[in-house]
């Protein structure tokens, strides 16, 4: 595939790449991808084209589907709800990324140590990942209720704010809960990555007199580069799919303060019965997801997953 384009630059660098010659050999195991490919085509590509086709129609979800050309696209793109939903989506995406990434790296580095108490803590840290988003939302909704929740129950005025009824607070609460839910998962990824960093690097730097902080900035973080990209891709693309949590927690409210694109799509399609426009939103979501994934590949150096371990 991309062999011909990448190979020359690699050869110029004068590095022997035995792997390049084995490319032809992968053909023999290509059939292993068939089950995954079949499922991806059946449940990924075909619905995707279905949605694309629906975006050029007018359909109330119940009756007959009428072709409508670009009507749905025109209606959706001129709907003030779309830029707002995009804004909320990206706001939650960026803020939750900015909060989760440093927290996950720090916890991941902490958990990478082999002491037993760290292992015990890791088990507890991991619990939120095991819970369903809907259950988490129901629990937080009850805890944050200003009249019957934690604040009112314990008599702490600071806690009995209108957490989900104030527009700014509600966005903050969503970001907090999303982070609470997913930081353990990303910490786990970082824990694994940190453990893969060769000890020799730390030993060598220790001999040179580097302290723990210096080691973190100069060895750990650079070594985690690709893990950060992987984790960020998961966070960012995953944040496009936030639906269940927000739907149960705020239903997009108050007003439309937490109506992210996915929720906007659901409401447009299944509550307002405007399937054409909902399909337009779905196509936009797919395009944004693709664009973000490609962007992260670019940031990660795109073509070259060069070894970071040279000299180690």
């Amino acid at each position: 595939m991309s062999t011909s384009t990448t190979a020359p630059s690699v050869r110029q660098a004068g590095v022997a790449r035995p792997g390049a010659r084995r490319v032809g050999g992968t053909g023999s195991v290509a059939w292993m991808a068939l089950p995954a490919l079949a499922i991806f085509i059946a449940f990924g590509l075909i619905p995707l084209f279905g949605v694309l086709a629906l975006s050029f129609t007018k359909w109330d979800g119940i009756g007959v589907i009428h072709p409508a050309g670009l009507d749905s696209w025109r209606a959706e793109l001129s709907d003030p709800g779309l830029p707002h939903a995009l804004y909320v989506t990206f706001l939650i995406m960026i803020l939750s990324w900015a909060f989760q990434t440093p927290a996950s790296i720090l916890i991941g580095v902490f958990l990478a140590g082999h002491e037993r108490y760290r292992g015990v803590l890791a088990v507890f840290f991991f619990i939120p990942v095991l819970l369903s988003s809907a259950a988490i939302a129901v629990a937080f909704k009850a805890l944050l209720d200003p009249n019957f929740g934690l604040g009112a129950g314990l008599g702490i005025p600071w806690l009995s704010k209108d957490w989900l009824g104030d527009e700014k607070l509600a966005v903050g609460v969503v970001i907090f809960i999303v982070s609470w839910q997913f930081i353990p998962f990303h910490s786990l990824i970082y824990q694994g990555a940190v453990r893969q960093i060769p000890k020799t690097m730390y030993e060598a730097s220790a001999i040179e007199g580097a302290g723990r902080i210096r080691q973190f900035w100069s060895i750990t973080l650079p070594q985690l580069k690709y893990t950060i990209i992987t984790s960020s891709t998961l966070m960012v693309v995953g944040s496009l799919t936030f639906f269940d949590l927000i739907y149960v927690l705020t239903a997009g409210g108050p007003g439309d303060a937490t109506r992210v694109l996915a929720l906007d799509m659901y409401i447009t399609g299944f509550q307002a019965n405007v399937m054409g426009q909902a399909s337009v939103i779905a196509v936009i979501l797919v395009l944004i997801g693709l664009a973000l994934a490609l962007m992260f590949r670019r940031i990660g150096g795109g073509r070259s997953y060069d070894s970071q371990l040279e000299g180690a």
Binding site: G165, L234, G253, L290, F296, Y305
Partner: protein
């Protein structure tokens, strides 16, 4: 490490797949997974297969004899003389007391018709509204579709998804004549009847907590001006003037329904319903929206109202725990407040009234809004056997004497003529008489807006109402946004 190019391309493929998958999963909600996840969020859709009791051996004859009781011999004669067989499905709403009564009605049917069982599935309110539309659209509708009539029913009719029952009612006149005539309005689309009215008439009522009123030393309001005057008094006493489950949005809508009616009369919303251009910009409409925001700005509603859902009954809890003094809500909440509120209802602490008039308003103070009944339609996709079962079920079990008694016992007014005679002697006689007179004396009994309008217009309405209550749009912006969907 062996960073061969094939690894690169495979990763590229995977990351693309990941991204596409993210979008597709959402898009796939377009199938049936979306609504079912909704059901899951609300505690799950419990599937109850009504038990066929062993006494069912008495078969057809047993139904009429055993007080399962056909409403009248004539109906049973023509509607269900023929033996029916097979099985049918029926989806309806959870929430007591209606849930148990609906279950009991089906149990009576199943006991009497062992060869024609009806299988039920139950859903929470908000989950049901999404699920039933998707199921109908996907051709997976239950035989009997439980609903609210009006705009939702009209959208099923336009898609040819429900059976026209006009001729069936014509050949079974007793089924029709025993019900409130007003209940057929929301069952009728273009002059044809597409649903069997059932259950109870449910006007929206202004409830109040008598204990709180005594404690604060104030009298129930007789006008909108008195309501506004009460607000600071309750707030000063540390009690919220009104409870409200604002996240459900239709709860907020009930306020507008009354303010529009009291200020401008029932013709203001009628003009919207009839599709008149710019009907929302009527001065009376702007005035009602302005008054609404005045009450919100004066802290008329409980703190955090916009994050409270009606499905959780938290709004009712606020009233019966004395955290709020008043609540505008459907008459159906009476039953659950009696169940959940300790001695709140039985001890006589619950007060109620029709929404008071607004000074200088044109509306008739006897007018009310709410559900003129519930509506059961038959899926046009059902088999002939299933349709026969549903029709016989309508004729013999819906609002049978046993069901009527259950509704009355639980504080509801069944939409059966003369049901007021059953009220005397009931422990809730005062309440029942109040509901009966409110419904019977109303000059106009308007259907809830979100049920009367098409689903598309209703969603825009609810969305804008939420924003209006959040004070993020002005009455004028509300009117402008709503004018765009008139007639849609």
């Amino acid at each position: 490490m062996d960073p061969s190019t094939s690894v690169t391309s495979r990763r590229a493929f995977l990351s693309l797949a990941l991204a596409a998958g993210a979008g597709v999963t959402l898009a796939a909600c377009g199938g049936t997974s979306g609504p079912s996840s909704t059901a899951g969020t609300s505690g799950g859709a419990a599937t109850t297969t009504a038990a066929a009791t062993s006494g069912g051996g008495a078969a057809g004859g047993g139904a009429a004899a055993s007080g399962g009781a056909a409403p009248s011999g004539g109906a049973a004669g023509s509607g269900g003389a023929a033996a029916v067989s097979g099985s049918a499905t029926y989806w309806f709403l959870t929430g007591q007391p209606g849930q148990k009564i609906r279950e009991d009605t089906v149990k009576r049917w199943n006991a009497a018709n062992p060869n024609a069982q009806i299988h039920t599935t139950e859903f929470q309110n908000d989950a049901y509204k999404a699920k039933i539309k998707t199921a109908i659209g996907a051709g997976q509708a239950p035989t009997i579709i439980w609903g609210w009539g009006g705009g939702g029913l009209k959208s099923y009719v336009q898609a040819n998804q429900v059976e026209d029952l006009t001729s069936w009612f014509a050949s079974n006149p007793t089924v029709k004549s025993r019900l409130f005539p007003s209940s057929f309005g929301a069952a009728t689309v273009n002059g044809k009847i597409y649903a069997m009215p059932g259950e109870t008439v449910q006007p929206i009522v202004l409830f109040y907590n008598k204990t709180v009123f005594d404690k604060v030393g104030v009298k129930p309001p007789k006008s909108w001006g008195e309501i506004m005057a009460l607000v600071p008094k309750f707030n000063a006493a540390g009690v919220a003037p009104f409870s409200l489950g604002g996240q459900s949005r239709w709860t907020n809508m009930m306020w507008l329904e009354f303010l529009f009616d009291r200020i401008g009369g029932s013709e203001v919303f009628q003009a919207v319903f009839d599709g008149k251009k710019d009907a929302w910009s009527n001065p009376a409409s702007i005035e009602a929206l302005t008054q609404m925001q005045k009450l919100i700005k004066a802290d008329g509603f409980i703190k955090g109202f916009s994050s409270i859902t009606a499905d959780s009954n938290a709004d009712q809890a606020l009233l019966f725990t004395g955290k709020a003094a008043m609540m505008l809500h459907g008459s159906w909440t009476y039953g659950s407040m009696a169940t959940d509120g300790g001695d709140f209802v039985s001890g006589g602490h619950l007060g109620y009234m029709n929404f008071p008039p607004v000074e200088g308003g044109k509306g008739d103070p006897s007018d009310t809004v709410g559900n003129p009944g519930q509506y059961m339609s038959i899926s046009s996709k059902a088999s002939a056997d299933q349709k026969a079962i549903a029709k016989k079920f309508f004729a013999t079990q819906v609002l049978s004497d046993a069901e009527v008694k259950e509704w009355v016992d639980n504080g509801g007014i069944p939409i059966v003529n003369g049901s007021d005679k059953l009220l005397t002697g009931s422990k809730d006689a005062d309440w029942l008489k109040f509901v009966y007179t409110t419904a019977a004396n109303a000059k106009v009994f308007a259907q809830s807006w979100d049920q009367a309008l098409s689903p598309t217009a209703a969603e825009t309405l609810l969305d804008n109402i939420a924003k209006l209550f959040q004070l993020s749009i002005s009455p004028q912006q509300f009117a402008a946004n709503m004018n765009k969907v008139i007639g849609k």
